[in-house]
Amino acid sequence: MNPSLIIYSILGFLFFIGCARPNYQKQQTNTLPNIEAPTQTDQESSHQNNQASTNEPPLSPTTCPIYFTQKKLCAELIWEKQPTESETGSFTLQFYDTNHQPISFEANINLAIYLWMPSMNHGSSPMQIQLIGPGLYKIRRVYFIMPGEWDLHIQLKVNEQVQDEYVQKFTI
């Protein structure tokens, strides 16, 4: 049998069974969501429509958007500037107690925040953290060094030891 015929038959077979099947996703802007503390739900608003009370229910682990189980703290994340493939972003992080009251950390607790790409297990560039109010932080230079699925780690540290952590997933 002509060897060239064998070779090209094998190549042709490999070509057709091995073709890629692209699954392109349309790029979206502003894809990173805010992670906010819940306001009164529509159901509760309707129920209390004729009532004078304006008290919000206490936050719980199930209703708190960002909940630290060890310290029993709540937080919310609001994007000020969305990061893109080529630009940095920034967000604010407000810490609350379960009664919706802004809370400042004890003096020995430090806030640490970093990005981690779990599929390839590496990080991104360091972010800048600035305290701008009681329990309110502004985080700048949020930059994803490559597109993909990322984890945002928010850690509470004492003497450089992690005491509590919350992880939020993003896809950029």
């Binding site: 060897p3 060239s4 070779i7 090209y8 094998i10 190549l11 490999l14 070509f15 091995g18 073709c19 890629a20 099947r21 692209p22 699954n23 392109y24 996703q25 790029q27 893109t84 493939e85 080529s86 630009e87 940095t88 640490a112 925040i113 970093y114 981690w116 779990p118 599929s119 390839m120 297990n121 590496h122 990080g123 991104s124 560039s125 360091p126 930059y143 060094i145 490559m146 597109p147 993909g148 699925e149 780690h153 850690q155 030891q161 992690v162 005491q163 509590d164 952590e165 992880v167 896809t171």
Partner: protein
């Protein structure tokens, strides 16, 4: 018979350029192919200098979604490779890459650095002494990849641009099989390369995270063919690459371990080679990672490469 042998040597030599031209379309985070530059012809020595231009076209996530890259991300690799025969059927060699990366955008920039140097030793376990029409020529090889390039976790520019290597010591084992059939002044060749490697764990320290990185096994398989006439060769090949997940175990007991994800892609290559006088040759090739395979957790590149090679006869 002499003409037949000369043509065989020429065509097999041109095949040897193929492995070099295959090493370009590297996935993200530095590092490249583990296929070494093997001397497959009956020569004493070969030295290759190469230049490749590679642009990231698409990112493929772990869920199989493809996303076009919106910023220019270009990698240029300059590589010096050599292989030398010793003790008749044994050979040794090395590969030294230097990488330049350029990225556009507000957080873009340019960075250059040494990549991962690799060393190899090979043995011709299946010699082609009698030009059997069916039995290929087989060379087995061992490779050692050294972490001389800066890994992504050791990046100091805050953007990952200065990453030029994987950061792991790696030991590999593989084989090259070649066969050619001569018909007058023309020839058809067929070649395949298979390799498997094991990367070794190391400790990593980044700004807020430290822990143990545990890679696993990886491997690649290449199959190609070419048509030669006069001093020209036109060839095509497809290679598939797989890397086991890199697991991460943090030093802190509070932070959860991360299992990582498998990395996989395939590279299709078209190449043209020309054999000059005095045993010089050149190859131009185009590689595309968006055409074949079932990629996952990988960047997909499109690349051009130029290889210049000089060999010395025995």
């Amino acid at each position: 018979m002499n003409t037949y042998k000369n043509l065989q040597f020429s065509f097999i030599f041109l095949i040897s350029l193929l492995a070099t031209a295959q090493s370009w379309a590297a996935a993200c985070c530095g590092g490249g192919s583990a296929i070494p530059s093997i001397l497959t012809s009956d020569d004493q020595r070969q030295i290759s200098g190469s230049y490749s231009y590679s642009q990231v076209d698409t990112d493929v996530f772990t869920n199989g979604v493809w996303q076009k890259r919106s910023v220019d991300d270009v990698t240029k690799i300059y590589k010096l490779e050599a292989a030398q025969i010793f003790a008749d059927r044994y050979q040794t060699g090395f590969s030294i890459p230097i990488q330049t990366r350029e990225k556009s955008g507000q957080e873009g920039g340019t960075s250059s650095g040494l990549g991962d140097i690799s060393l190899q030793i090979g043995y011709e376990y299946l010699p082609d002494w009698d030009y059997n029409p069916y039995r290929p020529k087989g060379i087995g090889f061992l490779t050692l990849t050294t972490p001389t390039g800066k890994s992504i976790d050791a990046s100091s520019d805050g953007r990952g641009l200065d990453s030029s290597g994987r950061g792991f010591w790696s030991l590999g084992l593989g084989t090259v099989l070649t066969k050619s059939w001569v018909f007058g002044q023309q020839a058809i060749d067929c070649n395949s390369i298979f390799e498997i490697h094991r990367s070794f764990s190391r400790h990593a320290q980044q700004s807020e995270m430290s822990g143990e990185l545990n890679p696993g096994y990886g491997g690649s398989f290449l199959f190609g063919s070419g048509y030669s006439f006069s001093n020209w060769r036109i060839g095509a090949s497809v290679s598939w690459m797989h890397e086991d997940p890199i697991q991460f175990k943090p030093d802190s007991v509070i932070v959860a371990s991360s299992p990582g994800a498998t990395q996989r892609n395939a590279t299709g290559t078209l190449s043209t080679s020309y054999l000059f006088a005095d045993l010089w040759s050149g190859t131009i090739s185009y590689s595309d990672q968006t055409v074949f395979g079932d990629p996952t957790n990988s960047t997909l590149n499109k690349s051009f490469a130029l290889v210049l090679q000089k060999r010395w006869a025995r």
